[in-house]
Symmetry: C2
Subunit: 241 residues, 2 copies
């Protein structure tokens, strides 16, 4: 089965967490937004599912994944599905739930990363909310960033089975944490450097993930987009303290 | 098996989504924060799991549920677990994922409800972020509230099998949506009234849920706390437009 991934073109965004899992699984997939419109791709293909009146189970927002006849939305939910099918989560039910719990905490973390440049409204420009952004970013750097990273460092430390967050082998949550580290280093280089000094296990996990053969091949392929300031992780130096 | 629910005392908060599912399932559970400290309850019992060094799979934050030897965190993850065990989700795998997807969207909605009074930092007082709150609340009322409610109204409309969000019977997502309606009516009575005028199916679902015998019994028991301004839903008239 060839999966169809639906996500906005031009940014890594939340789609990247799904892409990293698909790449690590060596799954067959098409990134629909990158297919030309006249071949049924592009943004209209996304809109068809979000706005189409005939869609029985419409997604609220991208990313969503078409797997056969099933349409699956919400990043963590897609990863829950893929993790079971492709060995990117522990096999036992308790291990699967634990990995999903970690992914949901990573998703919460990511919302807070986004909101440092959009504290007032996601539909407004950054320029319309700069003073509030500075305050939210200061709080994020001082409180939230060390709290989240400290948590995941502890989880890594306590996993007796392997070097990742859960179980003995790599999971989708490991891929996602590595992606967040990469994003933080892009967006907040000073704050990330300082916070990661206390988190040697997270840094090692990041390096392990991006050294995995399939992830390396994906990054080298040119298909992985660069971080940019239309994305969740944005480099605004005034927010980096 | 008697479940142990761990959540902050004094507020409904995210614990209430779990409580409503446990009540509807007529499950045996103890609300640990309400047990006296000298009997092993209270906030110290929560801290033991959040901060304890011997906890192999520590939760990031309450609520979390102890089910036998398993400790399950993240509200939507707890509901995923309970939904399968207690018939509060469809039986087929695709229906389970769809219900979970809806729950994750409800969780996103709830974060945005919270952030209207805490746009700058969750560790600061509302009084320290009032101007930003007014702006965020205005954006929420104009853009986000109708967008989320419109989405769930559509999902209800398109479910051919029953009057709830997914499948033929009540699901935990139905209970959660009803709880959000109740919370919105408390926090933003004017905005909620206006937005819900366009959402007859959501209003009917709310009424159905709170008319269910076990939910009625729970509300009548006095165990359900009242909404209050230490909670996620807060009534600050200046944020209601």
């Amino acid at each position: 089965m060839r999966y169809e991934l639906y996500y906005w073109p031009g940014i890594q965004g939340r789609g990247e967490y799904v892409r990293l899992a698909l790449e690590e699984a060596a799954a067959d997939y098409v990134d629909v937004a990158l297919v030309p419109e006249h071949e049924g791709g592009g943004v209209p293909a996304l809109d068809k599912y979000i706005e189409g009146e005939g869609v029985a189970r419409p997604p609220f927002a991208p990313p969503f994944l078409k797997a056969g006849r099933q349409l699956i939305g919400q990043t963590a939910n897609i990863l829950l599905y893929l993790g079971s099918r492709h060995g990117l989560a522990p096999r036992d039910a308790a291990g699967k739930l634990w990995t999903h719990q970690l992914q949901l905490t990573l998703a919460d973390f990511l919302v807070e990363v986004h909101d440092i440049h959009h504290p007032i409204g996601s539909g407004l420009y950054y320029e319309q909310q700069k003073p509030a952004s500075r305050r939210r970013a200061a709080d994020f750097r001082a409180q939230r960033l060390p709290k989240y990273l400290g948590y995941f460092e502890r989880v890594l430390e306590r996993n007796a089975e392997g070097s990742g967050l859960a179980g003995a082998s790599v999971t989708y949550a490991d891929l996602s944490l590595a992606q967040i580290v990469a994003g933080l280093r892009y967006a907040l280089p000073r704050a990330a450097k300082k916070a990661l000094r206390e988190c040697p296990r997270i840094v090692a996990l990041h390096d392990e993930v991006f050294a995995r053969p399939r992830i390396k091949r994906y990054v080298a392929s040119g298909r992985r987009l660069a971080f940019n300031n239309d994305d969740i992780f944005r480099r605004y130096p005034e927010l980096d303290g």
